[in-house]
Each structure stands twice: as structure tokens, then as C-alpha cells.
């Protein structure tokens, strides 16, 4: 593969730096347009092993809301996203839940846990 140039927008922070990546046979030789060093790390990760934090909900029983919002405890490989989503479709938890509470361990072999992102109280019985 000859030298090539790839354009990427850094998504690490809202600055959204527009990066130009110079590649030589798939190897990154230079990154331009980044305001901070995180941009280079981002390019490396995005090109070789893109990772994403997944946020979603799981069904909640006995709570003041019918759903608990959750996220992966750390970014997971992009190709695992849909596996995690399929898994979450069948997860059910009981209120109360706290922010950061463990919901699923090592979800879909992704290496990340699913944790709650919202404090939800039990529904009071009348």
C-alpha cells in the first residue's frame, strides 16, 4: 500500500479537531490538526481498534420509572456494540438502583461491565 491520507474528526472532546492522518502502508506517520496529544491517541485507536462507550437502558421493575439508564463501564470494541445491545434487551433489574451500580459483569465478553447511570427509587405502595 502506498502513502495515503485519511481525514478524521477527533471525538475525544467537543473541540472536534479535524485531523489529517498520513499513513504509510497502514502505519501512521504523521497527524495534523490536533489541538492536544489525545488526538494522536485517538487516531491510533480509531484506525486500529475503534472503541465506544455504549449507553442504553434496561428494564426496571418496582421503580418509579420503567427503565434504568445504563452504560458500559469503559469503551468497548465497536464490533461488540450490537452484541451488548442484544444482551441488554433481556436484562431486568429491580429498584432501587444507584448511580454506578453493577448491572451486568463483562457484558458480551467485551471486558466492560454494564453499570447504572441513574438513581431510581422504589415505587411506593399506596
Amino acid at each position: 500500500m502506498a502513502d495515503s491520507i485519511k481525514k478524521l474528526v477527533c471525538i475525544i472532546c467537543p473541540n472536534s479537531c479535524e485531523l489529517t492522518v498520513y499513513l504509510d502502508e497502514g502505519e501512521i506517520t504523521k497527524v495534523k490538526g490536533n489541538l492536544c496529544p489525545k488526538g494522536v491517541d485517538y487516531v491510533r485507536e480509531e484506525l486500529y481498534s475503534p472503541m465506544r462507550t455504549v449507553t442504553s437502558t434496561v428494564e426496571l421493575k418496582g421503580g418509579v420509572l420503567p427503565l434504568a439508564s445504563v452504560k458500559t463501564s469503559k469503551p468497548i470494541p465497536k464490533e461488540k456494540i450490537m452484541d451488548v445491545m442484544d444482551l441488554l434487551a433481556d436484562v431486568m433489574v429491580w429498584a432501587p438502583v444507584e448511580v454506578g451500580q453493577l448491572i451486568v459483569e463483562n457484558a458480551g465478553e467485551s471486558g466492560a461491565n454494564i453499570i447504572s447511570t441513574k438513581k431510581i427509587n422504589k415505587k411506593r405502595k399506596h
Binding site: T57, A89, D90
Partner: protein
Amino acid sequence: MSEVLDYLIVGGGVVGCNIARELSRFDLKTVLCEKECDVAMGTSGRNSGVAHAGFYMIPKTLKAELNVRGHQMLPALCEEIGAQYNVIGKLVVAEKDDEIPYLLKLKRQGEINGTQGLRLIDADEVSKIEPNIRALKALYSPTSAILDPFQLTIGLAENALINGARIELNTEVLEIKHHEDYFTVETNKGSYKTRNIINSAGLYADKISALAGVEGYRIYPCRGEYHVLDKGVGHLLNTLVYPVPPKDSGGLGVHLTPTVDGNIMLGPSADYINEPCDLANTPDVMNQLLDEARLMLPALKRKDFIRSFAGNRPKLIPTSSNETVDYVIKEEYEGFINLVGIESPGLTAAPAIAERVIGLIKKRDELIEKKSFNPKRDKPVRFSRLTDEQKARLIAAEPAYGQIVCRCETVTKKEVLDALHNPLGAKSINSIKIRSRASMGRCQGGFCWPKIVQLIEDELKPELKDIRLCGAGSNMFIGKTKDLRRIK
């Protein structure tokens, strides 16, 4: 099925509901069948909401007679059945000299028809009445009024109901069989036997007529599109402001109409279309209405337009022309009363039409008045219209009045619950809207739909498919959040 009804009314518009209510004064078995999920879903709920004073109608026509009579009857009727009715007056404005003869013609016409108080006024007086409107001269009609067409129709239906008539929603008449002294009426919800049928099916009156064996009528739907303006600009207008209509427009021209709830409506256009159910807004007309609105009220901004809608007029002639075809109100043969071509001023004329139909019936049948008839239907509470002291008292008595569901229209939980548990049993989000005004404001449901759906869920425990915007098929949701993943 052995029961034989006295009257089966087809169509739950303002005319059908008014007739049902008038029949409920008498000792009769009456059923009203409405194919939609609620009353006032057709032309009755899709118009300018104006009580016309009667000067537009050609003298000596049924339209003129019933218009003026209806206009006389409406204030008392609205009071009785709890619909807002505000006399605000109307200006028909001439911008050029050559439009003045038209104003004179309207004035003459009105005087023959019996319209009260018509005056030709000059530019100065126009600007006193309506500071934001420019005109050379105007015809001023002080008795023209606005009303809430939904509340009027709903109120009539509810009043008919408590007086013993049955209002069957989601019930479409599919077939009518004429036997010697009764009819069998097949609907999607089963069949009825009835001695008499009253066809007040509006846009579908030709089809119902044909089902009853009376061919030869044809309704030509003529669409009128409207824009609704935010209440925030409602102060720009005090009266109804109508132009001199362009020749052969088939309508009264694009006009500005204040509503009883403080909005301004702008419209309607007039375009013949093929299907009576086609209520789409079209780009050209929407733009044209926007331009005309800004000509009349330059201060308007895009965000001031909160909704567009359309209504169809049931016309008896196929082209735009100022030729008048009169209402058909007659007993075609014994037991089948036909009301065809009831277009504008149908809302105003409705009580007079009902009166006329009762008159037709009384010619051949003796009707026995019920002692138990209660003409009154309580006006629903409108929290937003109350004084602070009244609000405080209501909340103290019922805390649900203290919880605002619809922020734009200040509609409380109690009002939404009352609307949800309405006597007619209409359960859609639109039914709640037309009763309580929740979601009728500037956010158009963006904020209050989730709250309204929650109340529907808590109160009715419906199946998913029964949470609907309006009638069957208008489902709000396809499932629970995770259902698509689970199906997979």
C-alpha cells in the same frame, strides 16, 4: 338485535349531534353512528369557528334563512351546553375603490336576510377597531361571533347522551336495507333496526344517500388549508377580518380569525380534491398563506406559526364559482331524511338545521316531550381562564388542578383526566386535546404527550395498540423500547 330504533343518525358532526340532542327531548330511541373515533372529526372541527351573521348568503335561500336563524339560536345554545361563544364582530375590508360595491352588496344582502347592525365604516374607524389592519373602507358586522366548534359538537353529543340517545363512535355504516316499515343498517360494529334514518354524513352524505337508495347526489370535497398562530401574537387582532373574496374563489377569501382560546387562524384556501379524506397541507398553499399573513400582519415570525391543518367542504358543485347551490334538507321517502351539501355556514346553521329536521318529523309524527329532558351540560373547567383566587380555590378542593400537564396551554391534570374519562368514551390523544386543549399549544405535544400517555396508561391500563393519536391505526408506538431487539 330485536330492538327497533326510532332514529339512526349517520354522522357525528355538529349537525348530526345537534339533531341527536333535539331528538333526545322526545320519547324516542335514537342512535348516532360516527365512523371516526370521536365527534367533530370532519368538517365540523375543521373550519374557522365563526358564527356568521348571515350577510354572505343569497336572500331567500335555505342557507340564508338557516344561517340567520342559527346565528340567533347559538348564544343561548352555547350557554346551555357549555361551549365558549364570543361576540367580537367582523370587518370585511376593501382595499381599493372597486371593492366597495361588493361591501354594499353584502350590506344589502344582509339587511334582506335579517342581519343586525351592519354598517359601512371608513379607514379611521377601521384602525380604531383594528389598529394593525389597513383598509379603505370596511363593512362592520358587530354581531359576528366566534365559538369553539369542538366544545359545541361535543357538548351537543354529551347532552344527547345524558338524555338517552346513544353515541356510537368508531361505527361506520356499510349497508342500508330498506324493508317495508323499517331499515336494517349494517355497520362494522353490528347491525341496527331502525324506523328512520337521518343522513348527516357531511363529506360522505352522497355515499350514505346512495346506500339508502337515493342516487344522484355527488359531494365534491373542496379543501381549505389553515395556519394556526401562537397565542403570543393573538393580541394583534380583535375582530374577524375578511377580505373581499377574489372572483370565483368558492369561499370567503383567506381571512384572519381569532379563536375563543386566543390564537389567530389564517385561511382557508379553496381547492377541489378527489378524496374526502385527503386533509394534507400542500406546499404552494402553505407558502401563499404565509405570505398573505405577513402582508396583513408584518410582525409575524416563523415561530409564531404553530400548526397547519386542513378541512374539506362538502360541495354540491364541482368547480369554483360563486354560484350558490342550496342545502338539501328533505325527507326523500318516508323514514329517510337527507341532509346533503351542508357546507359553510353549516356550523352557524346547525341549530336551525336541527330545528328544521324536527319540523319535518313533526309534520308526520307526534313527538312526545320527555319531562326528564335536561338541556344543560356543564361547561368544562378551563383553569387557564380563571383568576388567581379561583385557581387557588380549585386546587385547595382538588390537588390535581395544581398539577400542570400542558405547559403551553396551562392545562391541569384534572382537566386532562376529565377529558380522558369523557362521557362519549373517546380515548385518543386528539380526543383529550380537543376537550382540554392539552397539546394544542406551541409545543404541539412535544412536552405533554409523554405526560398524557402516562395518564392514559395509569387510568385506562390500555393495550399498546390502544394508545392512539386518533382513530384505529393511528398508533403512537410500535412496542416497548426493547421489543425490536427481542424480536430479533
